[in-house]
């Protein structure tokens, strides 16, 4: 194939490079600082590469500031929360598929109502509910928050719909119960949908901020985003006196995205389908 590059093509490519730089330079700056020594981190100048390579920032964040604790807490809450979310929502989606199931209409009704009122609107009432249930300062409060979502149910419902009804009938004639049909027939077919939901959940729950802010006051149970915010705030932008050095703060930021890096490669692939479903089905 023969293509001639015009000036327009070069300008377009330049735009792409600018977009990349605008995104990458701040990240590179943070990463470079995180791997700098205490002395290099406080030097003025433009840091895009570690000066005096050192992991002292990570050591300070992990041990002295005890980031290992909120990190582990977040890993636990994210894993359990994502799993329960997928389990509960997919079971509900399966139940909604059964046209003559008596609770089908009420569940749809509840689901639409919950999707109409945004979580932010009931922030304080939700705090009260958690307090009444004795869930303040428990991981359970964070795991339960957003355990079911209408969005996920709809997404999986659409996957489940692609399963031929005859398959379900055949399984039923073979004496399979609903739960067996669900796990043996429907879950395998909707692997891509479940993967998409799982990824969104991991990202969302790792980034969870408002819930721990409201429900968790016990420092031993706080999560990564709360710990990171506290460290970031310790650099006072107005006075310029750094209580915690830049290398430690940026190391904390890197720890704060570390788990996301593991899911990055898969997110883009599943992202478009999620968006298309989300945008048209919301």
């Amino acid at each position: 194939m023969r293509t001639r590059l015009t000036i327009a093509d070069w300008i377009l490519s330049l735009i792409m490079v600018c977009l990349i730089l605008v995104t990458v330079v701040p990240l590179l700056n943070a990463l470079a600082l995180s791997f700098s020594s205490n002395l290099a981190a406080v030097e003025p100048g433009i840091h895009l590469w570690p000066k005096e390579f050192s992991i002292v920032g990570y050591q300070t964040a992990w041990r002295k500031l005890q980031f290992w604790r909120p990190f582990m807490n977040s890993v636990y809450v994210t894993a359990v929360g994502s799993f329960l979310h997928m389990a509960a929502s997919s079971m509900a989606a399966y139940a909604l598929l059964q046209r003559d199931f008596p609770l089908r209409k009420p569940v749809i009704w509840l689901m639409l109502l919950s999707m109409t009122v945004p979580g932010e609107a009931i922030m304080v009432p939700l705090y009260i509910v958690n307090r009444e249930l004795g869930l303040l300062n428990t991981y359970t409060s964070l795991i339960i928050a957003g355990m079911v979502s209408g969005f996920t149910i709809l997404l999986l419902f659409n996957y489940f719909r692609s399963v031929p009804l005859s398959l379900m009938e055949a399984a039923r004639l073979d004496g399979a119960g609903d739960f067996t049909i669900f796990t043996r027939v429907f879950l395998p077919v909707s692997k891509p949908g479940l993967a998409a939901v799982g990824l969104f959940q991991v990202v969302g729950r790792w980034n969870q901020f408002r819930e721990p802010l409201l429900y968790i006051t016990n420092k031993a149970k706080s999560t990564i985003q709360i710990a990171l915010r506290e460290v970031s705030m310790l650099s006072d932008a107005t006075s310029g006196t750094d209580v915690v050095l830049a290398n430690t703060r940026m190391a904390a930021v890197v720890i704060g995205v570390s788990v996301l890096v593991l899911v990055f490669p898969f997110v883009q692939k599943h992202f478009i389908q999620g968006i298309v479903l989300g945008a048209t089905k919301e």
Binding site: D9, S13, H47, A95, V124, D178, F179, R229, A237
Partner: protein
């Protein structure tokens, strides 16, 4: 009980139980609880006293509320405008760029900040914008200018927040636009080429009109989020800027969780929700974005 056919549907009931319990306890009950709280004032001996709509009146008479509303409108207006326009242009540029690997790379990279929490984005930019050793101000100093207190100066904080929002969200919205573009039939473009259309004509006469329906979707998605802005303001506000950027949701948080005026706080959040639902409903009608049908 015959109607519910418990025996036949026993397993289905169990499967849907967590969902129903969740929605009842963490969605319906808080709404009811909230409505009740919003009509009560706490009594000294505990419990609440019914005060009708007094809390709502207090909110509407609170100058901080109007300040928060103004800030929300200004900030979200800027965020929506940039969130609709910049990704629109970026998506067209992505569509036009001749090298597929460069396109793919750009798409992946600019999408990445969307996955970061506001705490992470805040943490990075507090450093990058720091007046003492931040990257941006180091560059400004190279040009011999005075460093700018982006996050502490009341004149700079709003544009800074709007631009940070763009930095985080441009890739996300661009991918939505781009998805719409890549689902278009390439034959249309081939036909236009055969007819002798120039590249610019193809962009203005084909790509832009074909993208316009998606502008509605992106606008809706941004508008729905507009009244809910919380994290970025909560994380980036400080004593100097709080009055300039406090939004409705931080107002609700401060009332409820800091001052413990639960009645007034819930009243405020319901006012915001009503305005939000009204706006979204109006926009939906106006733009005919259809609701889901489960049938």
């Amino acid at each position: 009980m015959g109607k519910l056919r418990l025996r036949k549907y026993a397993q289905l009931y169990l499967m849907v139980l967590p969902t129903i319990a969740y929605f009842l306890i963490f969605s319906i009950y808080p709404i009811i609880q909230g409505v009740i709280t919003s009509t009560q004032k706490p009594r000294l001996l505990g419990g609440g006293e019914y005060v009708g709509l007094a809390n709502y009146r207090d909110v509407l008479q609170d100058r901080t509320f109007w300040q928060a509303l103004t800030n929300t409108l200004v900030l979200s207006g800027g965020m929506i405008a940039l969130g609709v326009i910049i990704p629109f242009i970026v998506a067209i540029a992505l569509h036009e760029v001749p090298f597929a690997p460069l396109r793919k790379l750009t798409q992946t990279i600019i999408y990445t900040p969307h996955l970061f929490s506001w705490v992470v984005v805040g943490g990075i930019w507090i450093q990058v914008l720091s007046p003492t050793r931040g990257l941006v101000n180091e560059v400004i100093k190279l040009f011999g200018a005075q460093p700018i207190h982006f996050l502490a100066d009341t004149g700079w904080i709003r544009p800074t927040l709007i631009l940070l929002n763009s930095w985080k969200g441009t890739g996300y919205n661009a991918v939505i636009y781009y998805a719409a573009l890549s689902s278009l039939d390439p034959q249309i473009y081939e036909a236009a080429t055969v007819d002798g259309a120039s590249r610019w004509q193809k962009i203005t006469k084909l790509t832009v009109p074909l993208l316009l329906p998606t502008v509605g979707v992106v606008f809706m998605l941004s508008a729905v989020g507009a009244l809910r802005i919380f994290d970025q303001v909560f994380i980036l506000r400080n004593a100097a800027t709080t009055r300039t950027i406090n939004v409705l949701m931080t107002y609700v948080y401060d009332l409820g969780m800091v001052q413990f005026r639960l009645g007034m706080s819930t009243a405020a959040s319901f006012l915001v929700t009503l305005v939000g639902l009204f706006t979204v409903g109006f926009l939906r009608k106006a733009m005919r974005v259809d609701q889901t049908d489960l049938a």
